[in-house]
Structures are given as C-alpha cells and as structure tokens.
C-alpha cells in the first residue's frame, strides 16, 4: 500500500509542481496588471508620490517575486550558483535604484512607454531578487539586507530633507514620501527577516484561485468604472 502511495506520489509530484507554478504565474500576472496598467494602478500613481513609490512599486516587486521563481520552475531552469545569484541581486537593486534618480523617474512620469518600462523593471527586479536571494547563502542575504537598509535610508532622507525632488509632484510630496519610505523600509526589514516563514504561508493550491479571482474581479471592475466615469 505504501509502495503504491509512493509510486503515485512520484508520478503526480512533477505535475503538481507544474500546476502550482502555472497558478503562481497567473496570480503574479494579475497582480502586475492590477498594480501596473489597470485603472487601479493608474489611480495609485496619480494619488500621491508616496503611494506610487511605496505601495504600487512594492506590489510590482511582489508580483515579480511570486512569478519569477515559478517561471524558472516551468522553464526547467536550475538555481543559479552563488556568484551569479549575487549578480542578480545586485542587478535588481541597481535597477530599482536607477528609477529613483529624479531624471529617470521624471522621464517615466512624462512618457507613458517609459512608465511601463519602469513598472516592468520592478517586476523583473522582484523576480531577480526572489531567485537570487533563494540561491545565495544566509550571510550574503544578511549583508545585502543590512546594507540595503542603509542605502534605502540614505535615499529616503535625501527625499525627506528636500535634497532630492521628483518632477511631476509638489516638493512637499517628495518630503512626505521620504518619511513614508523610511518607515516602509523597516516593514520591509520585518518581511526579509521573516521571509522564509512568510513565503511558506503562501499555499498555491488553497489560495491561488480565490486570490486570482479577487484580483481579476478588481481589475475588471476598475476597467468598467473607468469606462463609466
């Protein structure tokens, strides 16, 4: 009996992994659409700089972090080695850093295609970080985390003090966004420290369908309402 169970498990396991990966990609895609090009995402970008930078971009990073490893599983790719994984993490941080340069961010606000590229970059950065952080050692993760706390804090303070201003938003908005970002990075710290535990809270089989349904409904409703108004 146990042999049969083992046999059936071994034959169904790859299919189950594949099905779960497909669902993860679906949820990630819907999240990226909801936070990016949908009227919901556009509303977030328009409401304030803090919401745009902190909430919208964090959701896009999250979409990448969920979808990236799933895509890698679907493609049959293997974990990168430590050096490559570190490179991916640094590339992701550089990508995120690039869009914090006022000139680059201002251009993205003015030009729609660049705005879309910025949002795609965040999704890609989330994917690179998720795959990279899973492959580097715990010490690398700890150093990356502590050093990026310092770097994000430095940038947040540049915004809060008014040393950096983003075109398209009033100067006061940049200062408030700086404070929000500083607080947000502490929350990010909690997420990173508790990362593996939080990751294990995600149960694709149980949660993917309702979450995908909710996201799909939210996007559809926002499109309908945007059309009506």
């Amino acid at each position: 009996m146990s042999r049969i169970a083992l046999l059936s498990e071994s034959s169904t396991a790859p299919r189950r992994v594949r099905t779960e990966a497909v669902w993860d990609v679906v949820v990630a895609g819907l999240l990226a659409v909801a936070a990016g090009p949908s009227p919901l995402g556009i509303r977030m970008a328009d409401s304030s700089l803090a919401v745009h930078m902190l909430a919208e971009h964090s959701l896009l990073l999250l979409a990448g972090a969920l979808g990236g490893p799933a895509l890698l599983r679907l493609a049959g790719g293997s974990r990168p080695d430590r050096r490559r994984a570190l490179g991916w993490c640094l590339a992701a941080l550089a990508l995120v850093g690039l869009w914090h340069v006022p000139g680059a961010f201002g251009a993205a606000i003015r030009h729609q295609p660049l705005h879309a590229l910025m949002h795609l970059s965040y999704v890609a950065a989330g994917a690179l970080l998720a795959v990279g952080l899973a492959a580097v050692g715990p010490f690398d993760r700890a150093v990356l985390f502590a050093a990026s706390q310092g770097a994000m804090g430095t940038l947040a303070l540049a915004m809060a003090s008014g040393a950096v201003a983003y075109p398209g938003y009033p100067p006061g908005a940049t200062r408030s966004a700086g404070v929000a970002m500083f607080v947000g990075m502490q929350l990010a710290m909690a997420v990173v420290v508790a990362g593996p535990r939080l990751g294990s809270l995600w149960r694709t089989r149980r949660m993917a369908i309702p979450v995908a349904g909710s996201l799909g409904a939210a996007v559809a409703l926002s499109v309908v309402f945007a059309g009506l108004t």
């Binding site: 050093a147 706390q149 040393a163 502490q186």
Partner: protein
Amino acid sequence: MAIAAETQTGGRDRAVARVTFLWLATGGALLVVLALAGLMLRITQGFGLLSARWFYAFLTLHGTGMVGVALTTIAAAYWYVMSRALPLSPKVMFVAYLLTLVGALLIVAATLIGRFGTGWTFLYPLPSTPGPVPGWSGWAAAVFLVGLALVVVAFALWSLDFLRAGIVRFGGLGRMLGLDILSGKRSPGPDTTDPSIIAGTVVAIGGVAAAVPGAVIVGLELANLAAPSFTFSALLAKNLIFFAGHMLVNVQIYLGAGLVYAILPEYARRPWKASRVLVIAWLVTALFVMLAFFHHLYQDFAQPTALQVVGNVASFGVGFPPIVVTIFGGVLLVFRSGIRWTAAPIFLYAGLAGWAIGGFAAEIDASPGVNQYLHNTLWVPAHFHTYMALGVVLFILGAVYHVVPRLTGKGLSEPLGRAAAWPIILGGWGLVAAWYASGVDSLPRRYAISLPGFQYMAKIGSVFAAIVAVGVLVVFWDFARVLTGRGLGARATPGS
C-alpha cells in the same frame, strides 16, 4: 586529528586573548585620556581654564573619541565573551583594532594639532567654513573625517564578522534573533540563540546599515573640502549624520546589555535564557533602531510633521522594550540568588540603572512638546552621559573585572575595585544631576562660558567630575599593574 583540532583551538584561544588584551589596554588608556579631556571642559565652564578655541577642540575630541572608542572597546569586550559561543575571527578583530587605533590617532591629531572644533556632529558646512575667526584649516577637517570613517569601517567589519559567525552557528538571521523560539518551533536551550546573541545581532545589523549613510556623508564633506564649489543640502547632511551617529551611539548600550546577559548569570549562578517576551522586545528594538534618530530633527520644521510622529513613537519603541525585559530579568536573576557583590557585578548592575534612567530622560526629550524646551540645553548631555558614562562605561568596567583574570591569569584587586565603584558611581550621578538641573533651567549646551549667574552649576559638576576621575584613575592604575605583570593571582571562579 583530535590533537590537531585541540592545538588549533588552543591557537585560536591565544589569538583571541592577545587581541582582546590589546583592545582593552588601548581602549582603557584612550578612555581615561578622553574622560580627563571631558573634565577639563567642565572645569572651563565652571572656573575658566581653556580659551574658546581650545574648548571646542577638546569638546570635539571628547565627544567623538568617547563615542568611537567606547563603541569599539565595548564591542571588543563583548567579542571576547562571545568568542567561546561563536567562531569569531581574531584576524578580523585585529584589523578592526588597527583601523580604530589609526582612526583615533587621526582624530587626536585633527583636534589637538589642527584644533578642529565642530563637535562630533561635524554639521555641514562647518567643517569647510569655520567662521569669521579661522578656527582650523582644511587638512584638520579632512584628517578628522578620515579618522572617523576608519572607526566606522572598523565597527562595520566587527558587525560583518559577528553576522558571519552567528550564521555559521545558527544557519540564519532569523534564528540568531530567536524567531524559532517565538514561533514555538524550539524551546530555549543549547541549540537556540541566547539573549546576548539576540542583542548582538540587532547591533550588527545596525553597524552594517550605519556604515552606508556614514560613508555617504564623509564622502560628500570630503568632496566639499576638496572642491568648495561642490555644495549639497545642509539638512540632508544633518539627517545622514544623525542616522549613522545616533545608531552607533544607541547600539553601544545594547552591547552592554549583551555583556550583562552573558556575565551576570555567572555571578548569580542562574541561567538567563531567551524567552518569547525577550525575543519580541528585541525585535521591536530592531524595527525601531533606525527610526529613533528623528528626535534630533524636531526643530527642522522644513521636514514633514510625520517625521516628529515617527520619531516620537520610534524613540519610545526602541528604548522601553529592551530596558523593561532586561531590568526585570536582571532584578529577578539577582533576587535571592546569593550573589556575592564583587566589582564586576557591581559595575554591571549599576550600569543597568544608568541605562534605565538615562533612557527615560532621553524619552522625555524625545517627546516633541518637551523637546521644544529642552532641545540643545544641558539636559541633552545629562541624559547621554547617564547612559554612556553611567551605563556603557560601567558595563565596560564590569566586563574588565570579569575578563582580565581570564585573559592574564592575574586578577584586579577586589577591594580597590569595590572602593573605586563608590566615587565613580556617586560622582557620576552628581555630575549628571548638575546637568539635569541646568537643562531644566534651559541652560544651553556647548557654551565654552556658562551664562552669568549659572556658573555654580558647572562648578558643582566639576567637583563631581573630579570625584569620578579619582575612581577611574584608581581602576586604571590597578589595570596597568596587571598589564605590566604585577597584578594579583587569578581567581578561579566568579564571585569566589
């Protein structure tokens, strides 16, 4: 194979002892010199001793030196105590020692030869713009900045090595912080983290994070010195200086807590285990440790009001949880334990009082409504000297009395240590009381000459500071005897 491993362990032990010995000897000597510089400042405010120009040079030396040397010395004492539990690297520690030594010497040169006198805060554009009366030249400012940077790099190295060793032992940051205890996956025991390691992990994360804004501000100020046409936001500079600076001051007390967690149980003969409450308290501190510095910026009204709210919440969040769990834990540990009050537990226990009271005084000043009145008054040196001089320094002294017999095989004199504790602790409380009273009277800090009618406060403070100096010199004299091989025979067990 076993013999080889044993020899290797023995070799490591000797290396650990040598590096710790160097640290404590150098740190002890520097701390005494810097404390005497502080005494001269107080005497100047009370009786007039130094010219204003020298006063500010000494103020800068005392403030920067104390922050840097106390940080690295308490880190060294903690490192030694932790080196049995974690595979810490003596080589990295030796490099950190050299960097700190060179950094400290550069700061001494910048202040005593170059008369650099901005105070430890080196707020931009003061380093490159001393004012109408030329106070110092560009080289002194550059040497000071490089010296400070070396000390910060040394501490960042210490932090990285601590994280590395902790991860080798426990497998990840989460377990070092006790998340497995919090989730109930493991019960506190030999396989889990302990309170000292939790405190050290919070410190190490802060140490690495602080190095980034520290490097940015030193780079910006050096660039401004090299090319005066290059300018940047003065408010950004203040933010970055306090982001890095406040964190590096703050974490010293956590290293002190780590020492208390590790050493006091040996004297009380009771274990101090990690608990869920303790883990939660330190996680709250880890969350808030980088946000608390906003209380230095309440008067910078150009920044959003949200900053004051965050600063207020974070200041209370960073202080109270560890103070409460540590003070209650310490009291319960000692209560009816039959502890023998030798010099080490006396200094460590008195240090807890300094931390609690100084921390509470800091929380008062971190409330925006009160800060309106106490900002930049002598209340500020009052509270930070309470938890630095009566907290961190007492923790260092407690650690010295505990560690030196194990390092050298020779013990410091117990009667002398217990006798010296009286002038150090009582004199210290008198010294800070004079500052607290002056702060309540709204006397400004960093004035070379006290306001007319209030010099008596500085005179009272000077007398108490001199009493502290007597106690410190007695301990240092005894310590120097041990270092030169003339100390007493080692005691076998703590408290015996």
